[in-house]
């Protein structure tokens, strides 16, 4: 009996040890993601050369990198990059502020919720691509129309997350503050708002990625400058490598802004367990 017991115990302990080893190995191997990327790029390059795919269908990675390099050193991309970055940042900023303020208004007042929220949801269900041409007609081909389109896309994640966040404060914390004679404003400032911050940062992270989409959609509808405008131009002249090069820049902007949000979040929400364990993907 005892012999059977020990022989059972040995294999049982081994898989546990192996599983732990695997888990550690995976979490430590941050190099895996870049290695995968390089492998895919090499595969892509190889396939295109092997099958002699025409470059107006899919460009080879080498051609994309050449286009990217040329665009940067020739200074062609730079002004367009600045225009689009400004549209993204300004639209994101304006949309976020409006979303948070409206979220506070609705989150704190059931009356406001009944009055405003249905219209906000109705507006949200409109595809922004559909109203983009109207906004361009109203506000022109310049920066402002793009900023407004971006803001209309960025604001909803902040609105929704602010409302939920403000209502997430535990009742015990509110009772604790009430017991020392806090008024509504103090409860808002000392408990509801800090409790809402983790939610607001989730909203910011979603909004930052949507803002890139918003700016490009706006430029597609009508613009005289910007990376989206440049994509259209390159598309017309069948410069596929150029289009891909701009796409790389766009995703760099998105990743960079996302990382900025996460960095700020780490500093502000040092106390939140959700932050410590959060998945950074957006």
């Amino acid at each position: 009996m005892t012999q059977i017991d020990t022989s059972d115990a040995i294999p049982a302990s081994q898989p546990a040890g192996t599983a732990k080893g695997v888990a550690r190995h995976w979490s430590e191997s941050r190099a895996l993601s870049p290695i995968l990327l390089i492998a895919l790029i090499l595969l892509w390059e190889g396939l295109i050369r092997w099958f002699e795919v025409p470059k107006i269908v899919v460009p080879a990675p080498s051609a994309v990198f050449v286009a990217l390099w040329d665009g940067i050193v020739s200074g062609l991309f730079w002004p367009h990059f600045l225009v689009t970055l400004w549209e993204i940042v300004a639209g994101f900023g304006i949309g976020s502020v409006i979303g948070i303020l409206l979220g506070i208004l609705i989150g704190l007042s059931p009356l406001m919720e009944r009055l405003i929220y249905p219209y906000v949801v109705a507006f949200q269900t409109l595809p922004k691509v559909a109203i983009a041409p109207i906004i361009v007609i109203w506000f022109g081909y310049g920066l402002s129309s793009k900023i407004i389109i971006t803001a209309t896309i960025a604001f909803f994640p902040l609105l929704a997350n602010t409302i939920v966040g403000l209502r997430s404060a535990p009742r015990e914390q509110i009772e604790m503050l009430e017991a020392c004679t806090a008024n509504r404003w103090q409860i808002f400032r000392m408990i509801r708002l800090p409790q809402a911050l983790p939610f607001i940062f989730v909203g910011l992270d979603v909004a930052v990625v949507l803002s890139v989409i918003g700016a490009i959609v706006g430029e597609f509808v009508g613009a005289r400058a910007g990376l989206g405008y440049l994509i259209l131009q390159k598309n017309f002249s069948f410069d596929m490598a150029g289009v891909f090069a701009i796409l790389i820049i766009l995703s760099m902007i998105g990743v960079g802004l996302h990382m900025l949000v996460v960095a700020v979040q780490r500093r502000v929400l040092f106390w939140s367990e959700a932050t410590a364990n959060s998945v950074t993907g957006a």
């Binding site: 015990e172 914390q173 009772e175 604790m176 503050l177 009430e178 017991a179 020392c180 004679t181 806090a182 103090q186 000392m190 408990i191 800090p194 040092f270 106390w271 939140s272 367990e273």
Partner: protein, 279 residues
């Protein structure tokens, strides 16, 4: 509940009679009822026909089985939970919400995780817009008193449960309240720390001339601290007995071993057993 008038007028130590006669009670509870409405399974009758007077400067402890409504009673007195019916008066006026002179220790520590230990202690001072410099000094003294000096700038997430509870106690004392409601304040502490905290609490009580209502699950602790022990029984929560503790003051830890002390504890235990209470 019918016991409490008996005790007010009946066999009392002369000193207590004098105190009871000299002024109106600080807290006067009459025919208090609390029914929690619940969505699915009917109503919970948490408190039924509660009558209780607490005199100025009195130390009252409350014992009773889990779920008999001790926390409910304290929350009503704190003005953060509405009663269903009955009358609650504090200092002669009907209770209509929280009071600046009130300090509350909650059953769970309820610290704000984004504030440092000292900032958590200072929350009532900030809410009541007290002078911050002396409040900060007092916060340090209180933290020192409960054995947490050096932890001022840590965050609640870095503290053990017992340490968090002690921070909660400091927070309740920061604004020097005259009336303290304490819901199992020492529940998460080890026996040694607990005894020290009992002595400190008695000292603060005397020093500040405060009135204290303290809930505890420890019958010896209830006897050691109290002028009177309120024994509650469950379903619905009632006051089963109010027992006068006639041990001399100041109290010291040696009293735990005296026969008189043992008799009080045994009397309360008997009551628990006869009413089917647990613990």
């Amino acid at each position: 509940m019918s016991h409490s008038p008996d005790i007010q007028t009946g066999a009392l130590a002369p000193a207590s009679v004098a105190a009871a006669v000299s002024g109106d009670p600080l807290v006067r509870i009459a025919a208090l009822e609390k029914i929690y409405p619940t969505r699915d399974r009917g109503n919970v009758h948490a408190l039924s026909d509660i009558h209780l007077d607490v005199s100025q400067g009195e130390f009252l402890t409350i014992v009773g089985p889990s779920g008999c409504g001790k926390s409910t009673l304290l929350k009503i007195l704190a003005g953060i939970l509405a009663k269903t019916s009955g009358r609650v008066q504090i200092a002669g006026a009907d209770l209509d919400g929280p009071n600046r002179d009130l300090g509350v220790v909650f059953q769970a520590p309820v610290l704000l995780p984004w504030k440092s230990v000292i900032e958590n202690v200072l929350v009532p001072a900030r809410v009541q817009k007290l002078d911050m410099a002396p409040a900060r000094r007092r916060a340090r003294d209180l933290l020192d008193l409960v054995g947490l000096s050096g932890f001022e700038d840590r965050y609640p997430g870095e503290l053990s449960g017992g340490m968090q509870q002690r921070v909660g106690i400091c927070r309740a004392l920061i604004h020097q309240p005259k009336f303290l409601l304490m819901d199992e304040p020492f529940g998460a502490l080890d026996a040694m720390t607990r005894e020290q905290m009992n002595l400190e609490l008695l000292r603060i009580w005397k020093e500040q001339d405060a009135t204290i209502l303290l809930v505890t699950h420890s019958i010896p602790e209830a006897v050691f601290l109290a002028d009177r022990v309120v024994v509650m029984s469950p379903r619905p929560g009632r006051i089963a007995e109010v027992m006068q503790v006639d041990l001399p003051r100041p109290r010291n830890l040696e009293m735990f071993n005296t026969g008189r002390f043992g008799q009080h504890v045994a009397a309360i235990r008997r009551h628990f057993n006869s009413t089917g209470g647990i613990d």
